[in-house]
Symmetry: C2
Subunit: 397 residues, 2 copies
Amino acid sequence: MNIWQEKADQAAALLGELKLDCWLTFVRESSTHPDPGVELVVGADVVRPSAFLFSVSGARTAIVANFDTAAVRARGVFTDVIGYDQDIRPHLLDVLHAWQPEQIGLNFSGDDVTADGLTHGMWLKLQVLLSGTPFLDRLTSADLLLRRLRGQKSASEIVRIRAAVEITEQIVAELETELRPGVSELQVADFIQQTFRRAQVTAAWPIDTCPIVNAGTESDFGHASPSATNVIQPGQLVHVDLGVRYEDYCSDLQRTWYILRADEKEAPAEIQHAAAAVADAIEAAAAALRPGAIGLDVDHAARETIVAAGYPEFMHAVGHGLGRAVHDGGTMLGPAWPCYGQMVRQRVEPGNVFTLELSVMTSAGCYGLEEDVLVTADGCEFISSYSRKLRTIAAQQ
Amino acid sequence: MNIWQEKADQAAALLGELKLDCWLTFVRESSTHPDPGVELVVGADVVRPSAFLFSVSGARTAIVANFDTAAVRARGVFTDVIGYDQDIRPHLLDVLHAWQPEQIGLNFSGDDVTADGLTHGMWLKLQVLLSGTPFLDRLTSADLLLRRLRGQKSASEIVRIRAAVEITEQIVAELETELRPGVSELQVADFIQQTFRRAQVTAAWPIDTCPIVNAGTESDFGHASPSATNVIQPGQLVHVDLGVRYEDYCSDLQRTWYILRADEKEAPAEIQHAAAAVADAIEAAAAALRPGAIGLDVDHAARETIVAAGYPEFMHAVGHGLGRAVHDGGTMLGPAWPCYGQMVRQRVEPGNVFTLELSVMTSAGCYGLEEDVLVTADGCEFISSYSRKLRTIAAQQ
């Protein structure tokens, strides 16, 4: 069974669970304009307006341009693949008349980008295609289906995410031997990108900010490109945020090293305090992360811990889904801010994969950690090499 | 001036020309869900809900999450880059209240996928953000702006497309030396993909169908993957459809070779007739392709020619835009079929780049040609190496 078949079976089961009798992915030019339904269960790109329909009764029908039928059939997901040349309308109406769905779930969502593939133009096009039919009033959002389908990782998906994380850990281990005073942020980034190529993986997000590299306090923080002029110096923290995409699945890690001065055997107390506080906050989130927990409660556990340690709260969610997208869909482990909408009010489910991440500023630069965790039946498992220990780079001889 | 600044200046001029007083690109997680506005004039990806506003008066304001401000500022397109942490609403309303636009053009289009970046979920989100304000009723489509901005290639865009075509022609020349009986479609595809990597370009469309390779009549035609078992034989046509992406811009070419049998000095009359008919049809389209022409008339010139030569009409448009996307937006050179909507009723403009392509079936396989052309002030220029001459591969000694 390929990964699309695996996810398609999962989608079919979710239709029953959610009492949705039809799911319709309606797309065109899907390589220009990706759609979560195409990524998860179709696995082949299409050009002309195309419809992928799942019925709660188990039927699966694809309607695509004739020159796209071979690629769609090859995936083995759809029992019925209908080709057309000029107009999708009669074929789509045939299927809907045969199935008579009471509700037709579409890929749109106000808050979850990975459940929101339907464009507004395609929504308008569907209004025209279905005008004069009873189906026009039966359109609804399939976001709950898509969020669960995206969030509940299948066995093959977990294997790939674990592999992406393991590759990233190896890259971090190689990187550690390259970090020393005089090396610029850009050189660090170049080294990492060379290892991506050697490992035959790609960056998990656009290459101009993957990795993010921050040396000391004079760096551009946030999603900024590494600097050619800002070089590592003794007494600084070097903070790296990187992720890879391996067989379509992502990792996302942050690691930080303290560069010891010639007269230092260990990092100053301020840095040790920061590292301990960040570790405590990550552990607090991990302790709260279990099936049934609400996203914002997991975030709160970390936020409360870091504030209690005397740091300002971090201005992002403590964790996001991780999968096909580095910011994957489903539940968000974040605060109740408008930018996160309903995603932080959802429950954690077994098989979810999240990041746990935060950073604090110190007089030596940014100290940040980001781990990747899998939700188990009664808690969570770190799939990255989490350690409380502050990483240090020895002073140069 | 970078390419985003060049396109932003073009967009600012188009606002005046189209009497649209505000253009709003409204996006989130743009690396997961690309938007034509972000690609063309922003040039940096963003994570949280973000707004990119152009005013007809010349003002340009970006509102993005604080950790995305550095990357957006670095492109130098927006005079004002506003960062936020929790809620975009007050900042967006501030700008709209200051500008008081009568119409706010959004990125949605019923027919043009490259003008249709706004998701239906983001449309609904905007309804909520603007509720209780006069701006809610001023939302409209910016599709005409986006189609012209996309279709009218700037000087830098044309340089890149020419380079992509030139690289592809070199790949085709190298490929020609590899074509011989016994080589499978998959081996042809592997060779081409190796040359992509050597040339440091990527495939213009997803790698499982780029290139498309068809040897003889027993191939899977359409957007299908090359076969490991279907091998080239004497007396067959080998048809290849390939394109590269170079510095974000695409080429798209089809080339066909006839594999001579041991006793043949030239291709059989049937194949020569097919090649001449395809060339005649491409030339008819090129003769009709000039500023002011309607897309469907250009298509008709080719369609009429190939039918008059005794072949069935081709089941696709004779040409599509070529640029950042291999199926780029703007005018489509196609028939009046519902799947193409209004795109075929638009006029050709100077600076448009199109493919001209069609194929016919013969008893030796598919004979297809695809050329890339630039619309000039009074006609069009082939930017690919168009030739009427049937390409042949000598019989093996």
